[in-house]
Amino acid sequence: MGLRTFIEGWPVYRQLTGTDPLGRGAAAKSDGSRALTARTDTADSMARSVCPYCAVGCGQRVFVKDGQVSQIEGDPDSPISRGRLCPKGAASKSLVTSPLRQTTVRYRRPYSTQWEDLELDTALDMIADRMLAAREQTWEDVDTQGRPLNRTLGFSSLGGATLDNEENYLIKKLFTAMGALQIENQARI
């Protein structure tokens, strides 16, 4: 190693002579860190998204590699968040890739002490049947004075506030058409 290379190897030299006078970027890099590439550079695609936690609505960039989420970062273009994410937003990748996520339908029979597996389509069918039965058993056409009620109070729903507007729209539309009034949301809480 020549003297010149030796001196140039000093971070403080690079800091004083290079483009990084504060020594926070290129000047501070070691050979090891120089050899690293960011996951954001090697991603196959990037989706513009929004943090799913609080209502500040920080912009997120979701990077995808080989069909998997490889990184989620703050969106520097956002006038709301200017690229920042708080601990929760920054943990979004861990949220969507958490090993605790349930990825199959689970079913608990009445009086059972355990879960069982169930096909998604079967579950959907069973749920539809139960809704129709509950509606049938509790349907109210009119009140005591003959005024229309057109409703069932036989089942209810409570939604979280990470539902998309489009989802809320379909939920309300379907429930209303079924005469199901008892629909609520975190927005009440």
């Binding site: 998204s49 799913p52 609080c54 209502a55 500040v56 920080c58 912009g59 979701v62 995808v64 069909g67 989420v69 968040s81 708080c86 601990p87 929760k88 943990a91 979004s92 861990s94 949220l95 958490s98 605790l100 996520r101 349930q102 990825t103 339908v105 608990r108 009445p110 009086y111 002490t113 959907l124 539809a128 139960r130 129709l132 349907w139 009140d143 005024r147 057109n150 409703r151 109070l153 089942f155 209810s156 729903s157 409570l158 939604g159 506030a161 990470t162 539902l163 998309d164 507007n165 489009e166 989802e167 939920i171 539309k173 379907l174 058409a177 629909i183 609520e184 949301n185 975190q186 809480i189």
Partner: protein, 864 residues
Amino acid sequence: MAEAHPVGFQWVMEAKRRGAKVFHVDPRFTRTSAVADSYLPIRAGTDIALLGGVVRYILDNELDFREYVLSYTNAATIVSEEFSDTEDGDGFFSGFDPETGTYVQDSWQYEGNEGSSGSGHTAKERDSASGLEHESHGAQVDGDTPRDETLQHPRCVYQILKRHFARYTPEMVERVCGIPQDKFLELAEAWTRNSGRERTGMLIYSVGWTQHSVGVQYIRTGAIIQLLLGNMGRPGGGVMALRGHASIQGSTDIPTLFNLLPGYLPMPHHADHPTFDEWVDSIRHPGQKGFWGNAGSFAASLLKAYWGDAATPENDYCYGYMPRMTGDHGTYQQVLNMIDGKIKGYFLLGQNPAVGSAHGRAQRLGMANLDWLVVRDLFMIESATFWQNGPEVATGEIVPEECRTEVFFLPAASHVEKEGTFTQTQRLLQWREKAVEPPGDARSELWFFYHLGRKLREKLADSPLPRDRALLDLTWDYPTHGPLAEPSAESVLREINGYDVATGRPLSSFAEARADGSTAIGCWIYTGVYADGVNQAARRKSRHEQDWVAAEWGWAWPANRRILYNRASADPDGNPWSERKRYVWWDAEKGEWTGYDVPDFEKTKPPSYRPPPGASGTEGIAGDDPFIMQGDGKGWLYAPSGVLDGPLPTHYEPVESPVRNPLYGQQANPTRKMYAHPVNSVNPSPPEQHSQVFPYVFTVSRLTEHHTAGAMSRTVSPLAELQPEMFVEVSPELAVERGLAHLGWAHLVSGRAVIEAKVLVTDRLTPLRVEDRLIHQVWLPYHFGFEGLVTGDSANDLFGISLDPNVLIQESKVGTCDVRPGRRPTGPALLDLVADYQRRAGINPGHNAPAVTTDSEGKEQGAS
């Protein structure tokens, strides 16, 4: 805010860097207090006394922005002779009906309008949470009202306000809130000094204000201050609700709420809205000024979006299909009905009431008494496993082999596995692109409900029953794509935006809505989000490439307007109040309103416009009436109707309080919604006996590292690691008083439950001197439950169920409890401990605490 909305808080720090003074009012010293200029500890549940003190300070020192107040608010309007104030009624306004615990509002009206309160008796309004309808418009009021521009008339709003708050002195603030007078005066002085032509101040609140039995009135008090100081409709001003969830604003706008339809249209009530016309008239109030005159178009267009070709002018757009409310169908009433076996099925869609709702035990007992439960979530949450792992299994109240609830757990798609819009806290819609496919059986709610609806319609296809027509005639033909047959979220957004029925052309503005069936609109306040067939919510023009208003980032309702009522940013003549605060103004040359934002006013209506006599609807709004959704075009310092617990905010004690109300004989909000149910109870408060059994105040809030009921954070390892344990913060003084050891255990007892937590002794909490006694407050995070990577007892278990009368939101920011050292008992011994406390406190479950408390003892104190 630094704690719960950290990235939003960067703007507070930005303002501080530019010289703003930051005040933080909180029962507990937090990360926000640490960087504030001044921290004011407050007794939980006393904010109206503090804010009322500010109102008095403004009025007494004549510090209101007089020109703004005179022109833009109802300060000069004269109120009925029949009105009497809480100052004269020991905590009651005129019109209280003790039978129902609600008000008849006739006497609150403006002079000459006594008969037109519209609502009249408000018992029904309370049950249907009708206050919520006013999220986008004011309540009914006649346009022509007598005024006294000198503000001297004894019954003008200005004078009424002055008398109402006269006793909210700095001494009283100290007595009620425990805030030292000099701290209070520093706040009042800074707030008022930072308002006027050249400066504006902003008020930010969160559920620390809404989750109270007087929550709506907290916000009203804040709004009164902001109107008096001229801080509404101007840049850097306003009252901003910092909402807690990614699209909770969206869940209110396109409500999955029992009492609302999209765009704040009311759900029909069986008695009030038997016909389409009666329903529409109840919204538009014929004869009233303002933009709600077009309600018929919004209503017809919604029904047209729902029922398409089947909806015609001849059949009132299928109005007959709509289900009708008969009373309170809210989430807490539902849970009590579940316990009583009246409800068979329950859907939980990304929601975890076993941890997140007040009175966790009632929630879990309700779920254990269903025929079936569908849980859709990312994780196996407490509300799916209550039958297996819940605290009631430990106490023997739920026995798995005897619990009949059939549970379906269906995995949900995450926010990166589907596309759609969130509406964030400033009414801004932001479209999310889909990054990856959901894993395994995980699906979006869009998928679930679309395909569920498809199946239901197939099953009923041959039904001859009239009641099935609504489902069969429903427009339900969204295109699907991809291997999972995912419905197109854009096609749903297009329907929400609305379209011309004949051509399918997306509408650009809700002004295009028609009542003749030619337009279909899913949510009229969102019209424009799909203008020109372009998804405006997907716009992502970098902040570096546009001005500070950033109008090309996402899309805000209504009409991409970023500040509501921004006509008020100009003076009555249409000129900016000052160069510094220039925002929207009248361009006389071009004859139109212009500025940095979309003007919230008819574009070419000049400031000089005066309505012809008797004009109603938009025609009735004068050129200097900025509050165009209000019936009189004015900002309401005094609310003659629409707010069910009073035209003005009044300090009431929380439902559970160790303190007798120092201001009135009436202890707590007399109109609060109570539930006499065997599972529910309220800890006694003065003047009732035995309040000393629960001597301490507890309050709950968030930690930065966790999210609400914990389903999205206790399951995520980096977050779980950062906050691994349930804990309770106590002051060193209380630790000594109760023998609590730092990092040891304590348990907390209320009339509903006992929970345990690790003890954190810290001077972040300080005992407050209130009415010559020391009040100890403890603080708890409410994120913990029994599933996930980190577990702990749930703070919400401690609460009972008492609701704000306007919106039926529960009081879950303040309650009373006892604090004891050591771990809680387990098994049946736990129930015995709660029962023992109930006995000692004289709690009689199933009976309400008295709503009216102006006894003789109260009178004495109230008069002091």
